[in-house]
């Protein structure tokens, strides 16, 4: 992916020194692949979000979708394959080898590169996760092909992948294409794409291939995996309701008002980068370009002006409520409901109003 946006051009064809024509020998590359990322018994949901996107792209191209699953012999790869079919795959490429248990760059790079060279997909999608980004960069460099990182939108233009991504911290969007190389690779952040509906009646075929690597050839050893102590306490990307606070709350004490409302709604607490930098909230709570991407059903932004860096992380939310003293704050451009006022006054009032309303119902249910 290009770091620096070049001047906009409708088509890059004909620009000096650029080869934008697909060479004959690469025209046989067909199909859309998704790297199915899993660790310690679970598939990262971003893989299924990508499977949904892959299905749409493949249908436009009238080609098949394949999941690529690499792992150890004692890992449930076949059950991951069944899930892959349920989310839209027609086929799964499986590689089972003891050295593929637990992610390591070296064996995974060889495995994925070999599969691409053998079966020749035209598009390869990976999650923009710690695993996906590590692997994608190595594989793309080995293959000498184009890789667009952190895409927020994928489309087909002609027969090529048009991958759109924010750049310069989200101030601009770029659509990037790999015209003369295959496969066209892209990574997509978790929660940017919607999880497709699961259809367990779907099935597909399996192609197994060996890795051909032994442990002694691999320099890097995985000694241990240390799970986070707070693993399940902060689950921002999958929260249904998020209350976020910004610098407009003035101080750490006022930020507690965000917590009060969150408690009443059983919601997660989010924050802007400035708030995290000020130490009012943990880094895991940061929403935005350099933090988490979220898409809750309800997002309440209190004292957040709506810098683009924050917006790119939350604009996929179903309902956005914004509270800000400045009626011209950019957050109101993307909000569904706006309240012009002091968040320090509005938050307690909202806590009370939500609390009363919900108490009524919960009593009824009980």
């Amino acid at each position: 992916m290009s770091d620096t946006p070049k001047p906009a051009a409708p088509r890059a064809a004909g620009r000096a020194g650029r080869n934008t024509e697909l060479p004959e020998h690469l025209k046989s590359y067909k199909g859309v692949w998704v790297f199915v990322e899993h660790d310690r018994g679970h598939v990262n949901p971003v893989s299924w979000e990508l499977m949904g996107e892959a299905r749409k792209l493949a249908d436009k191209l009238q080609v098949g979708v394949a999941g690529v699953i690499l792992g150890g012999p004692d890992e449930p790869l076949d059950s991951y394959a069944r899930e892959a079919y349920a989310y839209g795959a027609d086929r799964c490429y499986l590689m089972r080898d003891a050295v593929l248990k637990g992610y390591r760059n070296e064996p995974f790079t060889k495995g994925l590169t070999d599969l691409v060279n053998t079966h020749q997909p035209e598009i390869m999608l990976l999650g923009a996760s710690a695993m996906g980004r590590d692997l994608a960069g190595s594989v793309a460099t080995t293959l000498g092909t184009g890789l667009t990182a952190d895409c927020t939108e994928l489309n087909i233009d002609g027969r090529a992948l048009a991958a759109t991504r924010p750049t310069f911290g989200g101030s601009l969007l770029c659509t990037i294409m790999t015209l003369a190389y295959r496969p066209q690779m892209a990574t997509v952040r978790p929660r940017v794409m919607q999880l497709p509906l699961r259809d367990d009646s779907r099935s597909g075929d399996v192609v197994e291939q060996g890795l051909g690597m032994v442990e002694t050839e691999i320099v890097t050893k995985l000694l241990e995996f240390i799970p986070d102590a707070t693993r399940n306490t902060i689950n921002l990307p999958f929260a249904d309701v998020i209350i976020s606070g910004g610098k407009g709350l003035k101080n750490a004490d006022n930020f507690k008002l965000v917590w009060d409302l969150a408690r009443v709604l059983g919601a997660e607490v989010g924050a802007t980068r400035a708030v995290v930098q000020a130490g009012w909230a943990e880094a895991e709570r940061q929403v935005g370009q350099t933090g988490k991407t979220v898409r809750p059903k309800l997002y309440i932004a209190a004292g957040i002006s709506g810098a683009i860096q924050h917006r790119v992380g939350m604009e996929g939310s179903d309902v956005i409520v914004a509270i800000n003293t400045d009626a011209n704050a950019p957050i109101f451009d993307i909000a569904h409901h706006g309240i012009v006022g002091n968040a320090m006054q509005v938050l307690p009032a909202l806590t009370q109003a939500f609390s009363n309303r919900l108490a009524r119902h919960i009593r009824k249910v009980a």
Binding site: F168, S171, V219, L223, I226, D228, K297, I334, V346
Partner: protein, 282 residues
């Protein structure tokens, strides 16, 4: 020990403005800074130098002005600095960038073998996190991305043990030098520049390499020509079509506004209320 730290000079993203008509970045007056993520890499390298001795060479590819960022790194205590600058590099994507930087690191290694290469996790302008893995692949370095802590380094056995951030936890990995580490943010705190280093930075004879000095062999692999990705369109974010439904506290009261909002949200989205009730009753 010889450590190379790759840095990038980036516009301070907090101050970026986009021209409303041409959709181009308005760089005038926007200060250029060392990519903040790269400072964690530099600090970690300097700590290793403090412990084990040796050299820290800072490497940057960019326009001639990027010299300022390299001087900044010298002021923090880096030993040497190389700026790779040539019009031929313009328009490079991550693949072409990693090719050029790998060539320069090879060249730097001819003076003294390189044991470790550091990069930041990603840049704040491109955000790709792909150049580090690319350099490692091209130079055959053992890649360690998202490193949150260097646990152990033994220069005699050349063994290196690190913690690497992964989903839901950290991997404890052991590898051998030479290796490339991309350093996670927050893993350390940048030191203050010492006065003597600041003075040294001002007059430091940093080296500027063009493509030949950097040992570029294949001109088809650098710049625009060496970039498989093509930017087909640059545009500003589209504003939402619907205007927000607005209430002003000054025109009523916080309580009325709050009651109104709850009513509106739950009426238009009854499933949100149902979901909340269900979860809170459970």
């Amino acid at each position: 020990m010889h450590i190379v730290v790759c840095i990038k000079q980036v516009p301070d993203s907090a101050q970026i403005r986009v021209h409303p008509v041409t959709n181009t970045i308005m760089r005038q007056g926007v200060p250029a800074i060392v990519n903040p993520y790269d400072l964690f890499a530099l600090e970690e390298a300097l700590r290793l130098k403090d412990r084990f001795g040796g050299r820290v060479t800072v490497l940057c590819m960019g326009p001639p002005q990027a010299e300022d960022s390299l001087r900044k790194c010298i002021s923090f205590g880096a030993t040497d600095a190389v700026l790779v600058t040539d019009r031929a590099f313009a328009g490079a994507d991550t693949l072409a960038t990693s090719y050029a930087l790998a060539a320069a690191i090879r060249k730097i290694g001819q003076e003294q073998a390189v044991d470790l290469v550091f990069t930041g996790k990603q840049t704040i302008d491109g955000d790709t996190a792909q150049v580090g893995p690319g350099i490692a692949k091209r130079l055959g370095l053992n890649l360690l991305t998202y490193v949150s802590r260097i646990v152990e380094l033994d220069l005699d056995t050349r063994r290196l043990k690190v913690e690497r951030r992964a989903e839901g936890g950290v991997q404890l990995l052991e590898t051998m030098l030479p290796s490339l580490i991309t350093m996670l943010e927050g893993s350390n705190e940048m030191r203050f520049a010492r006065l003597d280093d600041m003075l040294r930075a001002g007059r430091f004879p940093l080296r500027k390499w063009n493509k030949d000095d950097a040992g570029i062999e294949d001109l088809a692999k650098i710049g625009l020509k060496g970039s498989p990705t093509v930017v087909s369109k640059v545009f500003g974010p589209t504003p939402r079509a619907h205007k927000a439904d607005m209430q002003v506290v000054e025109d009523s009261s916080p309580n009325d506004v709050a009651l109104n909002l709850v009513e509106k949200v739950f009426t238009t989205h009854p499933q949100i209320e149902a979901g909340l009730v269900e979860r809170l009753s459970a």
